[in-house]
């Protein structure tokens, strides 16, 4: 039996949904415990929540393969600020639940203030979702004082995305990371939620009336944004992603990005949605940007 080695190299500036193509594992279902997957993070100099959640989602998928989990080797970033960042957002704790990672002994805490709105947190049921929402509310009263009007939109975005992961993805839940970034043109809140489940298209196909309705994964994603499509045959269900899109409203510079299966969709407020084909990636990754000003 041939042992397979797959090497994946994360990009240096890991900030776009399309870059998750770099973590594409061909014939993932065929991997066995004899095979090795090397995830090379060494060149990362900047990584956004969607990249972090993408890495965790992929690793979780690898731990759940039918043939057994392949050997996973994670190569640590060389950039000390990136390592420091990953420590502060609880990436290492999240990884510990999935695989071993030989982190360097000499990790320096750089001291730059960084308090995630929601550090990387695993949720697996409704109770977890409620607990995380409460923690986010507390952060808005402490670290994010002055941004209280953004609690409600952030709450809707996080809640609806996390509910989808728990209720519709056959995934045992997912991961969330939310963080405030300071850019030259202002401050933004960014929320990423991901699960390694069956994806939007396959979830919809569980409803008999949806079978054959969509030609592609990206068509399925686009259609869910209009609301009323669900694996559950109930006219009041299937509006979670629609409500997330609605929450963006007309406010400028808000965006929603969804990647599922081999398609992705990006919506910037005030613009027509952009969709494209991409390499197949486990589950669904969602990323929302809300400017603070």
């Amino acid at each position: 039996m041939t042992v397979m080695e797959v090497k994946l190299t994360a990009p240096s500036n890991f900030k776009r949904i399309k870059q998750l193509d770099s973590l594409y594992v061909p014939r993932i279902q065929r991997l066995s415990p004899l095979d090795q997957v090397i995830i090379d993070l060494s060149k990362i100099t900047f990584i956004k929540p969607l990249g972090v959640i993408g890495i965790l989602t992929l690793i979780e998928r690898l731990t759940q393969l039918e043939n057994g989990m392949p050997n996973i080797e994670l190569i640590c970033p060389e950039n000390k600020e990136v390592i420091d960042y990953l420590v502060k957002i609880d990436f290492i704790n999240a990884l510990e639940t999935l695989c071993d990672w030989d982190i360097p002994d000499d990790i320096e805490v750089i001291g730059k203030k960084l308090k995630p709105v929601i550090p990387i947190t695993r949720f697996s049921d409704a109770n977890d979702i409620e607990i995380i929402a409460n923690q986010m509310q507390e952060i808005f009263h402490t670290e994010l004082m002055g941004l209280s009007t953004l609690l409600q939109p952030c709450h809707v975005v996080y809640s609806e995305l996390a509910i989808n992961a728990v209720e519709h993805a056959n995934s045992n839940g997912g991961f969330v990371l939310a963080q405030q970034f300071e850019y030259h043109d202002g401050s933004r809140l960014e929320i990423s939620v991901g699960d390694c489940g069956i994806g939007i298209h396959k979830s919809l196909k569980q409803n008999k009336i949806m079978k054959g309705k969509f030609k592609s994964d990206r068509e399925a994603i686009m259609s869910t944004l209009s609301g009323g499509l669900s694996r559950i045959n109930d006219p009041h269900r299937g509006y979670g992603l629609y409500w997330v899109k609605e929450e963006l409203g007309d406010s400028p510079n808000r965006s929603l990005t969804l990647r599922s299966g081999n398609g992705y969709v990006i919506i910037y407020t005030g613009n027509r949605p952009y969709s494209a084909k991409c390499k197949s990636f486990p589950g669904t990754i969602a990323h929302v940007v809300i400017p603070c000003g």
């Binding site: 709450h155 609806e160 509910i163």
Partner: protein, 110 residues
């Protein structure tokens, strides 16, 4: 008398349909303590955030409860932040506030 069921006794944020169902179970216990002349108020004071899924489930169960109780259910204490969610959820189910009262009162089918 007006009897208040205060949501903030349970949490300041509400996300899931499961949580809505749990609250409605508590509400059903609460209504057992009401007299015939009591009015039921669902008080959202101090609640800081609700999701659409939570409110849609709450609404669906409130409507069932309302028809079984034959009693008005009034929603009060809505902050500006969550009013939009509740208005859109009501509209989504083709319901709106009953216009005959001064508060944001009973839901009825438009």
């Amino acid at each position: 008398m007006n009897k208040q069921f205060k949501l903030s006794d349970y949490s300041l944020t509400f996300s899931t349909r499961v949580k809505a169902s749990e609250l409605c179970d508590k509400l059903r216990q609460f209504v057992l303590t009401l007299d015939d002349n009591d009015n039921l108020f669902i008080d959202f004071s101090d609640v800081e955030a609700v999701s659409y899924s939570f409110f849609d489930q709450l609404l669906s169960e409130l409507l069932e409860l309302e028809s079984s109780l034959k009693k008005d259910i009034t929603i009060t204490g809505l902050s500006a932040n969550i009013t939009s969610v509740i208005d859109k959820s009501l509209k989504h189910r083709s319901y709106q506030y009953k216009p005959t009262r001064s508060e944001r009162t009973l839901l009825y089918q438009a």
